[in-house]
C-alpha cells in the first residue's frame, strides 16, 4: 500500500464548490479516508481530507470501469445545479440551495426483509462493502434531458452478496430519507414521501446497477443524493433513488413513488425507451445538458447490449 500525501493541492484543482463548505463533507472525508486505509484495496494515492475540506471530500483509490462511457462528461456545475430532488423543492435550482444544510452524518442504511443477514450499515461500513469504482454513465431523465456523470460507487450486487437474500425474495425495495423538519417544502411537491423505489431481483443483481457514494472524484453533494444513492443507468433517472436509508427484500413487487402519484404515467419498470412515450410528451429525443440540438434517445439508454435480456419476451409497452 502506497500512501502519498502531497503537501498541498493547488486551488485550481478544487472544483468550484465553495457552496459545499460544510462539516458533513469533512466528516465524510475522514471516514472515507479511514475506510480506504482499512480496506487498502486499489489504494494508489490519497489526499488528506484536511486539505480538501473546502471541496467535497476527495475520493481516491477509485478503480476505472469498462462500463464507463467515453462520452463528454456534463460540467459539474450543471449536475449540481439542475436537480430533481423533490424533498428539497420542485424547481431544478431549489435542491442546491435547500439541501445545503441537509444533515447526512451520522447515516445508517438498514437492510431488512427476506435476507439471511439483516443488518444496519453506517457509512464507514458501506464504504467497506466493495472497492470503489468510477462509472461514467449516461443518465436520462423522464422529462427529456440527459447528462453524463462520473459516478463513484460499487455494484449493488456486492451488498446483496453480503446480506444473502433468501430465495423467496423476488424484489428489492428502496426507501429515501425523509424528515419534514429538514425538508419543509416537501409537502408541496405533490408526491408522497418518503420516496420509495424498487427493482426486480435480477435487475438488482445486474452489474450495471450501483450504489453510489460520490461523483467527479468526490463524495456526493447533498443535492445529488448524499451520502448514498442508487444509480440504474438504463432506467429513467427517478428510479435512481437518492439518500437511501432502507433496503428491503420482498416477495411482491414493491410500490414506487411516481407510480403511486400517477400510475398512468409512470410504471414500475421505467426503462428508458424511445418507442414508448410518456402520455404527455415524446420520449424519442432528449436534450443533453450543454448541447443545443436534441439527440435521439437510445433503447435502454444505450445499455441494451447489457440489459435487454432481462426483459426478453416482455411487452415493454405494457410494462412501461
Amino acid at each position: 500500500m502506497l500512501i502519498k500525501k502531497p503537501a498541498s493541492i493547488p486551488s485550481s484543482e478544487i472544483t468550484p464548490q465553495s457552496v459545499y463548505l460544510n462539516r458533513r463533507k469533512f466528516l465524510a472525508g475522514v471516514s472515507l479516508a479511514g475506510a480506504a486505509l482499512a480496506t487498502g484495496r486499489g489504494l494508489l494515492e490519497m489526499v488528506s481530507p484536511l486539505t480538501t475540506v473546502q471541496a467535497g471530500a476527495k475520493l481516491n483509490a477509485v478503480l476505472k470501469s469498462p462500463f464507463s462511457t467515453p462520452e463528454k462528461q456534463t460540467p459539474y456545475n450543471d449536475v449540481t445545479h439542475y436537480n430533481n430532488f423533490y424533498e428539497f423543492g420542485t424547481s431544478k435550482e431549489a435542491p442546491a440551495e435547500r439541501a445545503r444544510n441537509f444533515k447526512t452524518s451520522p447515516w445508517t442504511l438498514s437492510i431488512e426483509g427476506l435476507v439471511n443477514k439483516p443488518r444496519t450499515y453506517d457509512l464507514d461500513a458501506i464504504l467497506k462493502i466493495a472497492p470503489l469504482e468510477e462509472r461514467i454513465y449516461r443518465h436520462r431523465c423522464v422529462e427529456g434531458w440527459s447528462i453524463v456523470v462520473p459516478w463513484i460507487g460499487f455494484p449493488l450486487n456486492a451488498l446483496l452478496k453480503q446480506v444473502e437474500p433468501l430465495s423467496k425474495a423476488k424484489f428489492v425495495a428502496f426507501q429515501s430519507f425523509y424528515d419534514p423538519q429538514q425538508m419543509p417544502v416537501a409537502r408541496y411537491a405533490g408526491i408522497p414521501f418518503p420516496y420509495v423505489e424498487g427493482l426486480r431481483m435480477d435487475e438488482a443483481l445486474h452489474p450495471l446497477a450501483i450504489l453510489c457514494v460520490g461523483m467527479y472524484g468526490e463524495t456526493l453533494p447533498n443535492q445529488d443524493g448524499a451520502p448514498i444513492r442508487l444509480v440504474v443507468p438504463w432506467k429513467y433517472g427517478f428510479k435512481s433513488i437518492k439518500s437511501v436509508v432502507k433496503i428491503r427484500f420482498v416477495e411482491q413487487q414493491p410500490p414506487t413513488t411516481w407510480n403511486l402519484a400517477t400510475p398512468r404515467e409512470y410504471g414500475f419498470y421505467s426503462n428508458v425507451n424511445p418507442n414508448v412515450d410518456h402520455p404527455r410528451w415524446s420520449q424519442a429525443k432528449e436534450r443533453r445538458l450543454g448541447e443545443f440540438f436534441k439527440r435521439p434517445t437510445l433503447m435502454f439508454n444505450g445499455y441494451g447490449d447489457q440489459v435487454a435480456q432481462l426483459y426478453a419476451g416482455m411487452d415493454l409497452r405494457k410494462n412501461f
Partner: protein, 217 residues
C-alpha cells in the same frame, strides 16, 4: 393620478416596462444566466410572461371600475399586444429550439399532447385579437362585434392555465395560482354581467309598473 394616466408620454415608460422581461432574458443569455438547460429556461420564462400579460390585460377592466380609474383603458391594447408578443416568443421557442421546425413532429404533438393542443389553441385565438386591435378594425367591425370577438381572450386565459396545469409533473401550485387569478377576473365579469342584467330588469319592471300614462292608456 388621473393626470398621469392621461398624459401623452406615459405610454412610453409603460411600453419599456413591458420589455423588461425580454431584456432580462437577453441579459441572462449573454451572461450565462440561463442555467444548465437554457432552452427550457427560455421556454418557461416566455410562457410565464405570456400568461402574466394575459392576466394583466384582463385586470384592466375590473381595475378601472374598482379603482375608479377609467383612463387605464389607454393601456389595455398595449398590454394585450404584449401578451401576444410573449406568446409569439414562447411559440417560436417551441417550434425552433424544441422541435427545430420538424413539422411532422409538431403535428403529432398538437394531435397527441393535450397540453400542447390547448396551449396552441390559446395562442391561435390571440391572433385575430392582435390583428383587429387597431382603431380601424374597431370601426370596421363596430363596437359590439369587436367586443364580442375580443372576449376570445377569456378562452385564451383558460387555455393558458390548463396548458400549464397539464404540463407540470406534480407540483401544481403555480398553475393553480394563475388559475385562481383568471377565475377571479372572469368571476368579476360574470358578477358584473348578472348585476347589470338585474338592474336592467329592475328598470324594465319599474317602467312596466309605472301607472299608465295618458299616452298608452
Amino acid at each position: 393620478m388621473k393626470s398621469i394616466l392621461t398624459a401623452k408620454w406615459i405610454k412610453v415608460p409603460v411600453f419599456l416596462l413591458c420589455l423588461v422581461p425580454l431584456g432580462l432574458l437577453l441579459w441572462r443569455g449573454l451572461h450565462h444566466g440561463l442555467g444548465a438547460n437554457p432552452i427550457e429556461f427560455i421556454t418557461h420564462a416566455t410562457g410565464d410572461w405570456t400568461i402574466r400579460f394575459v392576466v394583466i390585460t384582463l385586470s384592466i377592466t375590473p381595475a378601472r371600475k374598482l379603482l375608479g380609474q377609467p383612463h387605464l383603458i389607454r393601456f389595455r391594447r398595449m398590454l394585450g399586444l404584449f401578451a401576444f408578443f410573449y406568446g409569439c416568443l414562447h411559440f417560436t421557442t417551441y417550434i425552433w429550439l424544441d422541435k427545430f421546425f420538424d413539422v411532422a413532429e409538431m403535428i403529432k404533438d398538437v394531435e397527441k399532447r393535450r397540453f400542447i393542443t390547448v396551449g396552441f389553441t390559446g395562442f391561435v385565438l390571440l391572433i385575430p385579437l392582435a390583428v383587429t386591435s387597431t382603431a380601424g378594425w374597431i370601426r370596421r367591425l363596430g363596437g359590439w362585434r369587436w367586443q364580442m370577438l375580443h372576449r376570445l381572450i377569456y378562452l385564451t386565459a383558460i387555455a393558458g392555465v390548463v396548458h400549464y396545469y397539464w404540463l407540470v409533473k406534480s407540483d401544481v401550485r403555480k398553475p393553480l395560482q394563475y388559475g385562481g387569478m383568471v377565475a377571479l377576473l372572469l368571476a368579476y365579469r360574470a358578477a358584473a354581467w348578472v348585476s347589470e342584467k338585474r338592474n336592467r330588469l329592475a328598470v324594465d319592471t319599474a317602467a312596466a309598473e309605472e301607472p299608465p300614462t295618458a299616452e298608452n292608456a
